[in-house]
């Protein structure tokens, strides 16, 4: 350790290590990715069958998109914390790394995973669900970007909570839904605006809400994480 090593650099290195560990582990085993991909494909197929060739209004289809994304997130974003607890490796992280670095690294991982599942869902949805056409792409792109960031942020802190509980699987959506509802309502509303071809300025209110939601959730998570993480 040289004198030039600042605490910030050490923190960044630790955060990077947490992220890279999850990333490399995922690349090697591919558990989460394959489960997520199959989940999205299955769910969209079910929707197609349920629609039975008939259309549904753009309002309904806008909402359905986010239903799929929400449940995909619920099936994949808890893993990063739950796996550590189940395998007993959480202790190694507690022993070596600063709690804030653990949270930051795992949040980053979930941001990437969340972005991946959002993009996959959107692409498949646009391709296969006829009747859902986006007219204002600028609104749509901003919505899925902000939406997936907010989704990852809230999902990560709740994942940290349920990793310490017993019935993790069913508890995760139960705890996440009330917290994510403001986000879901806003992105669904913005998606509808995009589908209806509204000008970008119409969605300013939604974007303001989304950005402040992200800021509030991330800040609160950073403040509270250590209470969850430390025994």
């Amino acid at each position: 350790m040289t004198a030039a090593e600042t605490p910030v650099r050490r923190w960044l290195r630790a955060t990077g290590a947490v992220f890279m560990k999850d990333w490399r582990s995922e690349l090697r085993t591919r558990y989460a990715i394959s489960a997520l991909v199959m989940f999205v494909i299955t769910t969209i197929s079910i929707i197609l069958f349920a629609l039975g060739g008939e259309g549904a209004s753009p309002e309904v289809l806008s909402g359905m998109l986010w239903v799929v994304i929400f449940f995909a997130a619920m099936s994949g974003l808890a893993r990063t914390f739950v796996m550590e607890e189940e395998r007993g490796t959480a202790m190694m992280l507690q022993l070596t790394a600063a709690p804030s670095a653990v949270f930051a690294g795992k949040l980053l991982f979930n941001l990437v995973l969340g972005a991946g599942l959002t993009v996959l869902t959107v692409v498949l949805y646009l391709f296969f669900i006829s009747g859902f056409t986006v007219q204002t792409y600028s609104i749509f792109l901003a919505t899925i970007t902000l939406g997936s960031i907010g989704l990852a942020a809230a999902s990560t802190i709740i994942a940290a909570i349920i990793a310490r509980a017993n019935t993790k699987g069913t508890l995760y959506p139960v705890l996440s839904f009330p917290i994510l509802l403001p986000l879901l309502m806003t992105v669904i509303s913005a998606t509808r605006l995009a589908a209806d071809g509204m000008p970008f300025s119409e969605a300013f209110g939604e974007f303001q809400i989304l950005i402040s939601y992200i800021v509030v959730v991330v800040t609160t998570s950073i403040l509270l994480f250590e209470y969850i993480w430390k025994d």
Partner: protein, 207 residues
């Protein structure tokens, strides 16, 4: 760094059952602390408190150099080997070593890692996934991980678990060196594991 660890009035309770209470001790540079007691008397709990993994219900533990160390500095001075400290078995021994160094925020030196692994007779298998390791090899890897950042305090819970005679010999050398160069803390059922005990905490009947 010359450190001293002192504990005053340590008390631990879970779900309103007290595991131990009134624990005091002090151990300094060049000394060994033995934590003794029957199974279930709370040795591992005390070890976890020492390593910052658990917050005691009452009392406190302090680690002091020239002045008291904060939580973050403490983390950097401790190495732990314990049955409940799991390693990442999808990664190799080298990768685990690089990982634990990076998690501590430290730069890795592959050359130093290799010599440490060599010392623990793991150099040959350093690139194989740990999943394929025997329990003795995993135990030796835990020693490598605990020592890679050259901690002033080495904490061993069941130091000889899963080790054959060769492994035990290596560990005894490590323990002697640590005893001279820093602080050694050993929690064990078997008192013959440790020699030259300076301070002893007996957890039997400490409720």
């Amino acid at each position: 760094m010359e450190l001293r660890i002192s504990a005053r009035g340590l008390r631990m309770a879970f779900n309103r059952r007290t595991i131990f209470a009134g624990i005091d001790f002090s151990v300094g540079h060049g000394e060994t602390l033995l934590v003794a007691g029957r199974n279930g008397s709370g040795k591992s709990t005390l070890v976890k408190i020492l390593c910052g993994l658990l917050t005691p219900t009452g009392g406190k533990v302090e680690m002091t150099g020239k002045k008291p160390l904060d939580v973050h500095a403490r983390r950097g001075q401790i190495g732990l080997v314990a049955p409940y400290l799991q390693v990442y078995d999808e990664f190799s021994a080298m990768e685990n070593m690089r990982l634990t160094m990076a998690l501590r925020g430290l730069l890795s030196d592959d050359g130093a890692h290799r010599s440490l692994l060599e010392r623990l007779a793991l150099d040959v298998r350093r690139s194989d996934p740990v999943r394929g390791f025997s329990s003795g090899m995993k135990q030796r890897l835990k020693y490598a991980l605990a020592l890679s950042h050259r901690p002033s305090v080495l904490v061993l819970d069941e130091p000889m678990a899963n080790l054959d005679t060769d492994g035990m010999a290596i560990v005894r050398t490590i323990m002697e060196e640590q005893h001279e160069k820093g602080i050694l803390v050993v929690a064990t059922n078997d008192p013959s594991d440790v020699t030259a005990v300076h301070t002893r905490v007996d957890l039997n009947d400490r409720r």
